[in-house]
Subunit: 340 residues, 4 copies
């Protein structure tokens, strides 16, 4: 940690910072700068770092506190250099193979879910996605079938053998969802719902953590850290578009996020092109881009009848479109030395 | 609702949209455009609106669906033209008087909280704010005192008479927090935590709903709608800064939000200048701006010893700075025909 | 064009809008809505559209004016359905082949430029990029060699046969730069420098138009329209990253922009991964993503000695890194049915 | 300047950085950190700073280069602590009085301009604003009257005594505009048009520099530095809204910018509430907020007949609305100890 003093900081203010550094058991080291004083803080900061940045920032005469190292630890490559491979009922996420989860936005009925499940299975998908608890912007929109939806997903798994990814929105429902699901999804609106993160950190299921719409990648990693710190190392990160000024698509896919996350963390990184564009005509292009950029997988919305979907119809691929996309993705994977 | 077809839409595609409109009990009305077809949808859409936009957007040949009216209803001025005034133990929020809630970011100890409470009371604050459950980006940062903190807040209320505003982060804790608090705060990270919104919608306490960092004002109003739709009309909206590319302050205060919200909704609107700037040097300027722009109140962080605050020290005012600010705010209020 | 009236609009206000529509030679058509009036404007709006939206928005009682169609015409696929292929001294941009322009950020010396030019040529690049006039954030940073730099670029073209892409920043310099360059680049900071757009619209050279950092895709197309409207149809669009709240990379590559632009316009679309990430470690991933998403080419910074580059060293590839990237790009191109 | 090495940096990489620091005449100072090496660079960096950050960032093993001090110098309060007061034909901008420039977006005709000029003069405005050269997103929109418009503005000044603020868009027109105008405005789209900044830096007129839509405050100050570095110290900064994800207003007024700029620079800071909101209903609230936050003035669009304005009608106040606003602003000014 480095503390940069204001150019007008008084000797007393500098002394006060030095004293405080020593008081808390660390060592100050003053750089011989001319224009302004820069104080390096030596010693083991560890978990106190997050609080100490704010602490010293509050001292009179301090211009800025620079942490130098990142605030996450368990999620970092420095701590765990090799790629983490998350095993979901035999499907490996984060290794050499690209893993594709596909399915409807919402579980609407048994017939619809089973049909879509069979179609995505035939096309080569590795996991089934589908929502039973749906976070909807409007209280008047379809909110999901709840446990009924979970049962349908379990039946689809039974029939197709595809592991199931589904969202949990409330601490209260974690055990319930975990009884049916193979992967618990934390949605974009709950990326910083810390009680929920702690709760899924305390169970054994893999967690698919979606980036919040207005959240930096460093915040995404801090949220992953919450889960890992509770003992659950099986975290899959998901870029799903961020909010920007651009309004031609629902969100802006931050494709830079893929190599940045792969550089910073050992956790697998997947992309959700359906939410990141909000438009089925663009899902193919962004899916291919994500895999080419190094993503470990995709989360794609597929619906047998998008026109009558109860949610996210405009961004859902038809099964035949998904099949074509899978073939294209396989070729991209091969071009970069990976497999499906 | 208006459905705008693509210029290349076929007569069959247009017919399919018309048929669907009739099938669901509404009436299509085709505008005699030359370049492209525009279909108005007549009849009572009501609560189905949110789903119908997506529904029709999924039809082949459809370029775009324009809702025309807003998706919120109970929160809108069209539904309830007069200003809503929320009464918090006698403090009126949303009327002619400006209401100021002040206090420490976190409840750290009884001594600290009581001292700050007395100081802000003396300076003229109307409510005490303070966090017992703290949403922190890092799992290693101070997480709040929990129920112990709530008890301290209740004691501060007893001593000063100031009603208490404090955050609740989890559905599980709503009853607990409601036992001690006068206003339940939904923090920025939980603005779209729908189970939590529904839960606080089902109790009688006023709710202070903070805007999410990456959320549009229309989404803020939809979240308010969730609470009101459950039966709780006592919702106070709070602008607290959004994420933008500008990095000289922690967030960007969206001052436009004040008049826009006052135009769209009858609910009271307050501003949190402490989080919106993240820097105590800028809190005064933004507080004055917020009141001048028409905000109904402020949420200000005050700490007796910011250097040793366990959270948000850099953005906390000292009690004497807060006192000066209160005097300035009173003059601004008077200049615009309001009172403190 | 559709004019949406406020719910409280009076009959007189509605009449005033109708009268104005007729006064300017168009026909009003009132939709039989219940909740609020919606007036369709019929007749040929043509080039007046841009002004008319604002015009009617100013009328009392008007809530919003929706243009329905886009404001650009010459740049749109509706006007010109087939892809435009821009021929730059034999290099085709916008056809089946991926075109790669590579070279140093700045022309620093003859030796440096010639060496880089030969190296990128050997690696398979199709064009040489390099800046003689440099827009730098700081007035104290290296500003480019000016005409001397243009002469060096011309010499590099002579030696390697690579056509030259270089930036022009001022109307005053257009003729000068055009004497030496094959493609005139309009930089991100000048995307809305309309006198400059008109000036390059009046010459015969192809123009590479970079998206402004804070500009929507619709604004990019309006800027292209400025150039085309002056008679120059040879416009190449370039996504080069936008400003967002994410700060782990210099800018955020809007990968969605590739399929959106290909959907909206017939003009070729390329991506600049060097500026869009600002970090050479991420250039490879984003280059592959761009080609996989359907970009017609790339603009890549390559420097023989990035450590001693006078500008943009951190984002420049070394020639050997560029060579490896070219091989990877060729495989991606093949995977999607294109060639280099 | 501080150079932060990667944790895995080798001794050779660290040595190479040290050698380079010495080679260019500065002194390296290695902090005794444990986790990673941090090298302070001692000596006079001066104007080389901008280039050196990139230079060292390109070295292998370097994680990040932190400049510590700002890149601007002439614009900074450290260089010039006292407020700069720009005198425009007797109107002082940056002192205790709030200066208001008002007038139509575009000069449309002599009659319109003279009427608006008289009306804003009567209401107490200090300067007349109006555009003769108009940067319009669409090439088909009204582009301004050019020199004819400048002559009309000069006549309005003659009749009312109000100094004239008007935009210049091209280096070619600087002398022409300067013959008629009292203040040269650099518009938002040209904030980083460096040839234009240098050109207006070389004349004697005050310059009103608007912030670019996607530009950080530090970039705004660097653009001001371009002008001052050429010898023209009379620069007025203008916040006019930035691009964000929020779409209920045309742009987002960054009210934080006012105190941040006043903290960083001695230059006067004004706000343009008309462009920052794009909607006349919100102009009043944001004008009051700007003055309350400490702005030195406002730039307000006023039109005698907004419905028939050739540009920006929706955001223009009527003269009577402007008069009311001036009275409110005067009360706010008084409340904060300033005058009109």
């Amino acid at each position: 940690m480095i503390i940069i003093m204001q150019t007008q900081a008084t000797p007393e203010q500098i002394q006060a910072v030095e004293d405080e550094i020593q008081r808390i058991g660390l060592r100050p080291f003053i750089n011989p700068g001319v224009e302004r004083k820069v104080i390096a803080v030596l010693g083991a900061l560890d978990a106190r770092k997050a609080d100490l940045v704010e602490h010293f920032h509050s001292f009179p005469g301090v211009e800025r506190v620079d942490l130098i190292s990142h605030l996450w630890k368990l999620a970092s490559r420095e701590y765990h250099p090799a790629d983490t491979v998350v095993d979901v009922a035999g499907v490996k996420i984060g290794g050499n193979r690209i893993a594709i989860a596909a399915g409807p936005c919402s579980v609407e009925s048994e017939a619809q879910t089973l049909e879509v499940a069979h179609r995505v299975k035939e096309a080569g998908a590795h996991m089934l996605r589908g929502g039973a608890f749906k976070p909807r912007t409007s209280p008047y929109a379809f909110q999901g079938l709840g446990e009924e939806g979970l049962k349908i997903l379990a039946k689809a798994r039974e029939e197709t053998g595809l592991p199931v990814v589904t969202e949990v929105m409330d601490t209260h429902d974690v055990n319930l969802v975990a009884r049916y699901a193979d992967v618990l999804q934390i949605g974009t609106r709950n990326m910083q719902n810390y009680p929920l993160l702690k709760r899924v950190g305390a169970i054994k299921h893999p967690v698919l953590l979606k980036r919040g719409l207005g959240c930096k990648l460093r915040d995404l990693l801090m949220s992953a850290e919450y889960i890992i710190a509770e003992g659950n190392h099986r975290v899959i990160l998901c870029e799903r578009g961020i909010t920007t000024f651009e309004d031609s698509t629902r969100h802006t896919t931050d494709i830079n996020a893929v190599p940045v996350l792969k550089h910073w963390t050992h956790l697998p990184v997947i992309v959700d092109p359906s939410h990141a564009t909000g438009d089925s005509k663009y899902v193919g292009a962004v899916s291919k881009a994500a895999v080419a950029a190094g993503a470990d997988g995709l989360l794609v919305e597929v619906h047998n009848d998008p026109q009558h979907a109860l949610s996210d119809g405009p961004q859902s691929l038809r099964p035949e479109e998904f099949k074509t996309l899978m073939e294209q993705i396989a070729r991209i994977a091969q071009a970069i030395g990976r497999a499906m």
